[in-house]
Symmetry: C2
Subunit: 563 residues, 2 copies
């Protein structure tokens, strides 16, 4: 620490020793450090205390032994329970509340838009104005608010969390200002109905929450001032973020590990499990308490048949979904990059936008919401539906189209949006996928707090549904030939597609686990796993090949470009 001209070698050796100690005994180290801090206040060394314990032991024999044991147990309980677990419980509780409140506000915003739109059905022009103005105002407010309060809140925040977890101090990313900006900005952004996601920002919000909670708790005890312990808690917080966003504790832990780490400690994984489970539990209990649900269930519950979820011969179709999703995922990332680069390179546009920072969000929102206007082009791409509604209808266990004619299925409620008197349901699905694809890639370039997971997830589900409906049209009586007829379940294909595309875009395989927890059914486990692995293989190979090409161009080894 005091680098005052001492032997350079010795210093480095000391540092690496510290490093070894750090990674292997982080918890122990944290506790020692805390104990030292606490003790220093009382001017009594740890050795003294243990000596008194020893003396007690020698003095009173058996009975004293019991007492010592009790003292030790008490100390253990306080140190274990008091330090970490209460913190994790508080974090889980807080994040569940935040997640629920954000969801609640988003739902109200979306309802308000629908109500305005529905109330003005006498005049199409007024309807259009209402449909378009509402999101433009919300997004502009969100962009302006974040810009003014804390520009660090823009985007998903996952790259920043990655950096922080690797030990780089980015103080301004973990402040109360950022927290407020992120939560309010995110609520407004998602309330506008743009194709944006809540998951990435929630990883950041949970980390913010953990950092603020640490600061608050440090008023009570020394342990909360420890830097290394805070990083451990941040790792758990990332899991909580995903867990309380989707009510998916296991998927949350795995996703946060895949997205933020290259090496992780199994100890942190347990912490993450605990906090994420508690958070997901409270999040779903709040839904029951609010009478949204009768009991604790999955967020997007499916009802596929259990006895024969799919046939072995359908696996090639699932594999095709996986491979196509791999290419699609790579294309999505590329498209997003292209848009960003285009905006940066066009100097005239760039200059203009730098001056009027709120113009770009407003313009993009105007274009996107114009396209989804239900009486306009929106009628061909189910523009009326919110992301949640679209996902629920896509995961439906009934078949929309049999033998190419979309008549058999009586479209109830939201599913009606997929039906058009003149246009086939396949055309609607293709239009939905193509339009949402570039719209999502464009929307996530808006400088508001937002993620890409959910839009990609919905596009993937639509793609899977398209393949599933095609299969159902191709084999109206199912593939299985001997005995019972098991019709094809297009909803299962939607699940596979959602997992595969989101896996390909985020380069993770834990999206498989997230879909199981989101849908509450695990019957399609093997198709989902196969599709996700194939999608990842394709997407990551494409990425690596691009890097190889670039390395040829820039005369660098691919490893140097691989971060």
């Amino acid at each position: 620490m005091a680098g005052d001209g001492s032997d350079q070698r010795a210093l480095q050796y000391e540092q690496t020793l510290m490093y070894g100690r750090y990674t292997q005994e982080l918890g122990v180290y944290a506790k020692e450090e805390a104990a030292r801090l606490r003790e220093s206040g009382q001017r009594r060394s740890v050795r003294d205390r243990s000596r008194t314990l020893d003396l007690l032991e020698y003095d009173k024999g058996r009975c004293a032994k019991c007492r010592i044991c009790t003292v030790r147990c008490q100390k253990f309980l306080i140190s274990r329970v008091g330090e970490d677990w209460i913190f994790l419980i508080l974090l889980g509780l807080l994040m569940a509340l935040v997640s629920w409140v954000v969801d609640f506000c988003i739902a109200i915003c979306l309802q308000a838009q629908k109500w305005m739109y529905g109330g003005l059905d006498s005049n199409v022009f007024l309807q259009y104005l209402a449909w378009v103005t509402y999101p433009v105002v919300l997004i502009t407010f969100s962009a302006g608010f974040t810009q003014i309060l804390a520009p660090q809140a823009v985007g998903s925040g996952i790259p920043e969390m990655k950096t922080i977890l690797r030990g780089v101090v980015l103080k301004e990313y973990l402040t109360f200002k950022t927290f407020v900006a992120k939560v309010i900005g995110l609520t407004c952004a998602l309330g506008s109905g743009m194709p944006l996601g809540k998951e990435g920002p929630f990883v950041h919000i949970a980390s913010l929450c953990a950092a603020l909670l640490s600061k608050f708790m440090s008023l009570f005890g020394g342990i909360y001032e420890n830097e290394s312990r805070n990083i451990e808690m941040l790792a758990a917080a990332c899991a909580v973020g995903v867990g309380c966003c989707f009510a998916a504790p296991i998927g949350g832990v795995l996703f946060s590990i895949e997205v933020t780490s290259t090496f992780f400690a199994v100890r942190n994984y347990w912490r993450g499990f605990f906090a994420a489970t508690f958070s997901a539990f409270i999040f779903r209990v709040l839904a029951v308490w609010n009478r949204d649900e009768e009991t604790i269930t999955a967020l997007f519950k499916t009802r596929f048949r259990l006895d024969f979820p799919f046939d072995l011969q359908e696996l090639p179709a699932f594999a095709v979904i996986g491979i196509a999703s791999g290419f699609g995922g790579a294309l999505f990332v590329y498209l997003n990059r292209l848009i960003v680069q285009f905006m940066r390179k066009q100097k005239v546009i760039n200059k203009f936008l730098m001056k009027k920072r709120l113009l770009y969000p407003a313009l993009v929102t105007l274009v996107l919401s114009t396209l989804t206007f239900p009486p306009g082009f929106g009628q061909f791409m189910a523009g009326k539906l919110t992301q949640k509604e679209a996902l629920v209808t896509l995961l439906d266990n009934r078949t929309w189209a049999k033998q190419g004619i979309a008549e058999e299925f009586d479209y109830i409620g939201n599913a009606q949006a997929w039906r058009h008197p003149q246009v086939n349901v396949f055309v609607t699905l293709v239009l939905f996928i193509v339009m949402k694809f570039w719209m999502s890639a464009l929307a996530i370039t808006i400088p508001v707090p937002s993620g890409a997971f959910m839009p990609v997830f919905v596009i993937g589900a639509a793609f899977g549904r398209l393949v599933g409906e095609s299969m159902a049209a191709w084999f109206p009586d199912g593939i299985h030939t001997d005995g019972t007829i098991y019709p094809i379940v297009p909803g299962g294909y939607a699940v596979v597609g959602a997992a595969a595309l989101s896996g390909a875009v985020t380069h993770t395989v834990s999206t498989a686990v997230i879909v199981f927890e989101l849908t509450g059914q695990i019957s399609h486990i093997l198709p989902v796993m196969i599709a996700v692995i194939l999608a990842n293989a394709v997407a990551q190979s494409l990425r690596f090949m691009t890097l190889l090409y670039l390395s040829g161009k820039y005369k660098a080894t691919p490893i140097m470009l691989l971060v």
Copy 2:
């Protein structure tokens, strides 16, 4: 490496540098090393080759660029696909075959025992002889065979794998002899119908398989001779072992991480996912191919209702299962330790058993199989059922006892074993739990290849079922009061109990994921997670307190005892 009297400090610094490189770029390092090995044969340095590539580029412009890119892509494909993924696919395929063949042989053995027992139903004494002799012979053979061929094959092998993965070379644990001994010994041991498990040994068998495959593949290329790469592959193999044993790829990966590691590389996790998924897929395809199943499904498929899996007010009961399982798990470990210590301390017994090594297995088997003899005491504890049958009946979605009388449910097939004309089903369940508890703890001390996971899992399921049946008897119309009647599902409690007890014994939380994959339903996710976390909290706290007590006794810090 050459520690010839150079500066001690510099050497240590060098070592730590190496360490850093090791953990961060193990794969890169492995590939470099392999490349060097290969190149050395051709007497051409890597730099030369890249220089030729550069020259090509300068010579022919655009077209050459494409060609270089193609060459690079080819190299990438070969290095990626050729080196790792083919190995993982082969490993998965082999292990799926091994798992399926072992399962098949075990099923035949168990059928043979039942057939003998059924054929002799005219004479109870002959029946008893057949019932008892069969397992005694099988276990004695298994113990003798392993003893002679490879004593390293005894037990589960997970502790040894832990040691090997931490970098200690235990060569004799990864030989072909051990492989043969483990596979054949395990098949015979499980074929005897003793309460033993297949999961731990399969972790070891998969690692053996990976090690042997590495050796075999090293005939073709240099990369397979690399030590560090082999350890990476062993980590993936552990996941494959669990994955192909239960057709549970996700749970397999997580369980193997929790059981074998303290720090883990995300890269290995992807490898494990890939190999375990492939393995589980092939394992289930073999079942379809053998006409055991119509399509790919879970191993112990449940059919709980989807719309209302459980009520919020049932959660205290689930929490009770979790806490009780925590104590039960700790007791199980303690009991097992007690038995082992008793056998070691009693010098007369110990000496006698050391001389006649096969006597102990035979004696234990004799006692255990006598107790389960169906016309004898076995009739009160469903002794007729094999482990698999017991588990299937315990996970049934129908209620056995309503209002305390076991009449409503028409016991079909194997479920009849739980019914006794004079004795209540509750008594049967309690007897089953108590007897199987100590019987399992005793059985896993037999020196044959065997694990404790499956017996503990069944006991947990029985305990959960007991609580569930009690709840069903207490609230015959379910707890939910407003509107529809949702009766309680005791099978769901069985799932929770199984996950909680196996989690408490193995100190893992991933058993939660394993039960979802085993049963093919994820509807009880939150109760299972809560129970598993509580069980782990209780079991690990008890363990820590014991360590604290011991540390007081031996004057050591608990950390020193915590390994």
